[in-house]
């Protein structure tokens, strides 16, 4: 196959993305909904950050804010999203168009609706190759077949001619991934990339993402509601609750030493395969808070087993875990002892 080597010189180390004090709120008839509150983190090149949280915790809005995909009407953003040193919140629409797909891309949850149903999949992949890499139609076509091969689609030459409806859910998600990585972005945001898929297919897709990430020295943000999905495939995990990061640590350290009661409660309420049948599950009482009615104090306080008066009146800041500068948590009465 006459394939042109595509080179993207880029250092493999160093900071790629820094989010500083990001706030995103939506104007709604019920009032201002604070979906993302004071979120800060940074991501090194070639690393994977897992963002975990329940529905309504703000993880999807966070990914859209980073990508600059939210509409400007009715949405207020503050803070900074520094990507390769450039603040994306103040970037112009045309600057963003040069970044989307080429420097950072997003994989959506639903592979059924992420593709254009009326266009052959090969053409959908070729589109960004032609736009960003200025390949000729022929080159783009060959390269898109090569991409289909890389994401594990059998007989990619024939498949490039197929329409999305002719493919299964897992295959469509592979096509979505092929489009996302086509221009070798430095950052890939994967928002619940395996949620609608069967378990055997889920494992294949997660393996594929991890392989591509390490081959291409691409950084990844893996967003999921499932602690299992992020546990084995990330370098660092941020746990979100009510729009805030409530705990953040390198993956192994987080599981070994959880400080925030919510993180522990989330883990304990997940059924484990090694437990005997009919094991009573730990539950978190109540429901996640209404983001239009966020008041002072810890948002988890009404559901927390260790709540004190201070929790209800003062919002706990994200603070360092003792001398461990990689582990942060937001809690007045943390679990365990200082490391």
């Amino acid at each position: 196959m006459a394939e042109r080597e595509l080179q993207f010189p880029s250092p493999a180390r160093g900071e790629l993305l820094r989010v500083e004090d990001l706030n995103t709120a939506f104007e709604t008839p019920r009032g201002l909904v604070h979906a993302v509150n004071n979120v800060s983190f940074s991501l090194e090149r070639s690393k994977t950050l897992g963002i975990v949280g329940e529905s309504g915790s703000g993880k999807t809005v966070l990914s859209r804010s980073i990508m600059g995909l939210l509409p400007s009407a009715g949405v207020s953003n503050s803070g900074k999203v520094l990507f390769e040193g450039k603040d994306l919140l103040s970037a112009s629409p045309s600057e963003m168009r040069d970044i989307w797909g080429a420097r950072m891309s997003l994989i959506f949850q639903d592979p059924m609706t992420a593709l254009n149903p009326c266009t052959r999949i090969g053409k959908q992949i070729a589109e960004s190759l032609r736009l960003h890499l200025k390949l000729s139609a022929k080159e783009a076509n060959l390269h898109s077949i090569e991409l289909l091969r890389q994401v594990g689609i059998p007989s990619p030459g024939e498949r490039a001619e197929a329409y999305p409806t002719q493919l299964s859910g897992g295959m469509r998600q592979r096509v979505v991934i092929a489009i996302a990585i086509a221009c070798a972005p430095r950052l890939l945001l994967a928002d619940e990339p395996t949620t609608g898929l069967d378990v055997t297919v889920q494992a294949q897709i997660l393996d594929l993402l991890d392989e591509l990430r390490s081959e291409r020295e691409m950084a990844m943000i893996l967003i999921s509601h499932d602690l299992g999905v992020v546990a084995t495939r990330t370098d660092e995990i941020a746990v979100m609750y009510a729009g805030r990061i409530v705990e953040k640590a390198p993956t192994k350290r987080l599981f070994a030493n959880m400080r925030m009661p919510y993180t522990e409660a989330l883990l304990q309420s997940t059924p484990k395969i090694e437990n005997p049948s009919h094991t009573r599950l730990q539950t978190i009482p109540g429901n996640p808070p209404d983001l239009s009615k966020i008041s002072e104090g810890c948002s988890f306080a009404p559901r927390c087993a260790y709540v004190t008066e201070q929790c209800r009146t003062q919002t706990p800041p994200l603070r360092q875990n003792g001398t461990d500068s990689t582990h942060h948590f937001a809690c007045w009465n943390p679990l365990g002892t200082e490391a």
Partner: protein, 321 residues
């Protein structure tokens, strides 16, 4: 499978076909199992394996085209319409989407009460008391919430209301079709615990259909694994999860992602995705994805055979664990 305990439900070689134009899709291709009174049978498999269709065939929503469903010894297909309506009182179903399975224009109290009104059970006052009690049993306060509409509740609370509606006629058998898949883990745990409590209190027998293996293990006494319309393995749950004998069961267990960073990432042992049920593979239906398939698997369809008490597997070359 001795006759020592009474079988509340017996499913015998059922097939369910759907036809569209000239094509026939066999969603369930000869499935047999039994459920003993008081136990929970988990029915697990990937999408398109026919687990939901099996559940719907049991309650005769889409009746089997061949085979039979015996509930309390009665062959449901042989009943007249009015007899079937009565028999169905003993079996209720709970669906995946808690919000769309409730009528948005009716108040919670009326939704739960409707079966009592239809069957004219008890006096006005008795019905009201029963509804209030039932709502309390599922953790919904009838005083503050009884007069509200489904849209005012979260997914977890709507699922509680669905449970109350299903239990108001005091059924023997509850068929739960992916009832916790749409819920967040913290809420899912609440509902699973609630289900165990209610099973105890109301003496229920459950058929629990789900794709999540950890959830199925948590609730089930026995588990049947389905693949492309057939059962490939059935065993007591501890046994099945500890020593799976069908390569498909082993592959499913291998694919589970555990919330533990120290757990090794198992090499994926199945390749590709399930083939289309419109044109299933000959012989063993799993052979196209099976790592140990041989010629015989293409020619001969393996029967479900008991390999140890209560543990049956449909494979020519079962794994030795």
């Amino acid at each position: 499978m001795g006759p020592k305990m009474e079988n509340l439900l017996e499913v015998k070689a059922i097939e369910v076909n759907f036809t569209k134009g000239r094509e026939t899709l066999q969603a369930v291709a000869g499935v047999s199992f039994h459920v003993v009174e008081g136990e929970t049978l988990g029915l697990v498999g990937e999408s398109g394996c026919g687990k939901s269709t099996t559940g719907r065939a049991i309650v005769q929503v889409n009746p089997a085209s061949s085979g039979s469903v015996l509930f309390q010894g009665q062959d449901l297909a042989k009943l007249s319409r009015s007899e079937l309506r009565k028999a169905r009182l003993g079996m209720q179903m709970i669906f995946q989407d808690p919000i769309s399975s409730l009528n948005p224009r009716r108040r919670v109290r009326d939704i739960v009460r409707e079966p009592l009104d239809i069957w004219e059970i008890g006096t006005e006052h008795e019905r009201q008391t029963k509804v209030d009690q039932m709502l309390r049993d599922v953790g919904i306060d009838p005083e503050t919430s009884g007069d509200r509409y489904p849209r005012e509740f979260s997914g977890g609370q709507c699922q509680r209301i669905s449970i109350a509606r299903a239990l108001i006629m005091e059924p023997k058998l509850l068929i739960c079709d992916e009832m916790v898949s749409a819920l967040d883990v913290s809420v899912q745990a609440q509902i699973l615990n609630l289900l165990e409590d209610l099973k105890e209190r109301y003496g229920l027998t459950l058929v629990f259909i789900a794709h999540d293996l950890a959830v199925v293990k948590n609730v089930s006494d026995r588990v049947a694994v389905m693949y492309l319309g057939r059962i490939c393995e059935t065993a007591p749950s501890e046994d099945l999860y500890r020593s799976p004998r069908h390569p498909y069961t082993a592959a499913l267990l291998n694919s589970i992602v555990e919330p533990d960073p120290e757990s090794p990432i198992a090499a994926v042992t199945v390749i590709g995705e399930p083939p289309s049920p419109i044109n299933p593979p000959s012989g063993c239906r799993f052979r196209t994805r099976c790592p140990i398939a041989q010629d015989r698997c293409a020619q001969e369809s393996p029967e479900l055979r008991e390999t140890s008490p209560g543990h049956a597997v449909a494979c020519h070359f079962p794994l030795n664990n």
